[in-house]
């Protein structure tokens, strides 16, 4: 297994914890932070999500992959309270989240980013960051008019924001409007902003989409850093090289269902997964999309 030199003990811990987990859909994890049961969402006649059971291991980086329209974004929306399922239940840290509005889910420590980046364009980068912090006294109506009640906290938030901007190479853009950032920089900003709340779990919907390869490397490193800081990461990604590079575990969705689970190397050899991606044309080159599922393996 390729182990990057910077990866510390948390990666090994995550890999070890998952080593004994069987590679079957819905496999129980030793220490799940998120457990979903029978989550179903229909749009008219289309069943976008129909997940029987899935668990996400705490402190690990889990990738959620699947072809376009598999229901990954919809599943994210359901888990984070941005959409309501037709049925099902899901627990975050043992707490039932069904019916909990999105803003409360975020306050409970599960924050997300969006596939279509949501930078707050006509606000400065630093204001975007400050907004990400939860529990601000100055965000209460009456206190807001009394600056002395929130000045100190604002300073603390600002220094935290600056530290994160530095880590994400955005400090030079601090005073620019978020709308003036490039697409990749917006992805970085959105991720940094989500981290302002100090979440336990971050859910990233295609964090690398549209990001140039040079920036990708630093983004990947940021995501690995999140794990090192003890956060749980669930992310959606289409680029298999990246999935292989950073994830400890991979969950594959197709047509709304979880069809496979396992460590990246195993999952990418799984015939059900290859079927789902290529519609059964096994004999065709598996690099059709510039993506290789199988490692060159003489065995």
């Amino acid at each position: 297994m390729p182990d990057s030199p910077v990866a510390g003990s948390r990666k090994e811990a995550a890999v070890q914890a998952l080593a004994a987990v069987p590679n079957v859909p819905g496999a129980p994890k030793p220490d799940p932070i998120l457990v979903a049961d029978h989550v179903m969402r229909r749009f008219g006649g289309l069943t976008a999500v129909d997940v029987d059971h899935v668990e996400i291991q705490r402190g690990a980086i889990t990738a959620l992959i699947g072809p376009n329209g598999a229901g990954k974004t919809t599943f994210f929306n359901l888990l984070t309270g941005f959409d309501t399922p037709d049925s099902g239940s899901w627990l975050f840290n043992g707490k039932d989240l069904a019916g909990i509005p999105a803003y409360r889910v975020a306050r409970m420590g599960m924050v997300r980013t969006f596939q279509l980046t949501k930078a707050l364009s006509r606000m400065k980068v630093i204001e975007n960051m400050r907004l990400g912090s939860t529990g601000q006294t100055g965000e209460r109506l009456w206190a807001s008019m009394l600056p002395f009640t929130w000045r100190k906290q604002e300073r603390e938030i600002t220094s935290r924001a600056d530290a994160l901007l530095e880590r994400f190479n955005l400090l030079a853009k601090r005073e620019d409007f978020a709308g003036s950032l490039s697409g990749g920089q917006r992805k970085l900003l959105e991720m940094a902003r989500a981290l302002m709340s100090g979440p336990e779990m971050v859910m990233l919907d295609e964090p690398m989409a549209g990001v140039n390869p040079a920036l990708t490397q630093s983004l990947l490193q940021h995501i690995k850093d999140l794990r090192e800081q003890g956060m749980t990461v669930l992310f959606v990604e289409h680029d298999m090289d990246m999935v292989r590079d950073i994830s400890d575990w991979v969950i594959v969705m197709a047509q709304g269902r979880v069809i496979a689970e396992g460590p990246p190397e195993d999952v990418m050899k799984d015939s059900a997964v290859i079927d789902a991606y290529l519609g059964g044309h096994h004999d065709k080159a598996l690099t059709a999309s510039g993506v290789s599922f199988t490692e060159e393996d003489p065995a």
Partner: protein, 330 residues
């Protein structure tokens, strides 16, 4: 031409009752639309419920001036809740539709024959401002400020009005520079993003709607007391759109935008009117083909054209930031 008359009329419009009333209405809209992105097309209804609470309670029911003011403010809060509760969870356009309809319902109720006993029908109400002018500490007489001459009562309401404007600006300024105001701006940009950061968007939108409505309703009081009368047809959609024009003219999401907009708007409206009239009286060729009442309409066309030119060359309004507006294009 009588230049001193032209100047004094224009100045009185720019700093008199109209500018105050619409300035306050636009300050409220600024918080709702400029900062939060809420499309409230019923601002005139907030002015109406305040003005009529005061007029009806004092004149038809014999309550004191202060009770009228307190009930007027409560009525504005209630109206905001009534409009906001069903619509603020929905897409932005629903609020626009509901508010424009609600404002018309309010106006039609106020002028209805059935409720004439309380609201005076289409004649309105006009004997309620005594309690206010009894508070006037200014000695009886006429006061000249530059070319303008005012009675002690006119001077009083103008001073009180501008104090209310200053208060509304202070509240707005304190709010929008705080973290609370930051949440509003975030909601304007993308409410789902703000939700994902743990903010109760619905609550903030409701607060913005209520505060904007209450700030606007102060304009209703000034209108009622300044005219010493209320008339239902003042509270039509025109008034709401004047307030929007003022807000855009001055610059949305700028604290002083609405006030600057109101001053310029009314100076243009009244200034062009008296200039046109003076030209007609002086028998200037071409212009004097119009009658005075036609001139009153022509001025709106002129001001409208002026606003269009402004929008082409300065779409951000007078105080706005062009860079900020250009970001939308991306």
């Amino acid at each position: 031409m009588d230049w001193s008359f032209i100047i004094s009329t224009t100045l009185l419009a720019a700093f008199g009752i109209e500018a105050i009333v619409f300035g306050l209405a636009a300050i409220g809209l600024n918080l709702q639309f400029g900062y939060t992105g809420l499309l409230n097309f019923g601002q005139s209804a907030f002015l109406a419920v305040a003005a009529y609470s005061l007029a009806t309670l004092v004149s038809q029911m014999g309550f004191s001036f202060w009770i009228g003011i307190v009930v007027g403010i409560l009525a504005a809060v209630l109206l905001a809740l009534l409009l906001g509760v069903p619509t603020l969870r929905l897409r932005a356009d629903y609020l626009a539709i509901v508010t424009i309809a609600a404002a018309e319902i309010v106006r039609l109720l106020l002028r209805s024959v059935t409720l004439k006993e309380w609201f005076g029908g289409s004649d309105g109400i006009n004997d309620f401002s005594r309690g206010f002018y009894d508070l006037n500490p200014i000695a009886i007489g006429r006061y000249t400020i530059g070319p303008i001459s005012l009675s002690q009562d006119q001077l009083f309401i103008i001073i009180v009005g501008w104090c209310l404007v200053a208060l509304a600006l202070l509240v707005t300024w304190l709010l929008v520079r705080s973290p609370w105001g930051r949440v509003l701006k975030g909601i304007r940009e993308d409410e789902d993003a703000v939700r994902s950061l743990g903010k109760n968007v619905y609550l903030y939108k409701m607060q913005a709607l209520i505060i904007g409505g209450v700030l606007g309703c102060l304009g209703g009081f000034v209108y009622a007391l300044g005219r010493q009368a209320v008339n239902p047809d003042f509270f039509g959609t025109d008034s709401t759109f004047f307030a929007y024009a003022i807000l855009i003219l001055g610059g949305a999401a700028r604290v002083f935008g609405p006030v600057l907009g109101a001053i310029i708007f009314w100076a243009l409206i009244q200034g062009s009117d008296v200039i046109l009239r003076s030209l007609i009286d002086a028998g200037v060729p071409v212009v004097s083909l119009m009658t005075a009442s036609q001139a009153a309409i022509i001025r709106f066309i002129l001001v409208g054209a002026g606003l269009m030119i402004l929008m082409i060359y300065r779409p951000q309004g007078i105080l706005g930031d062009r860079k900020e507006l250009a970001l939308d294009a991306r």
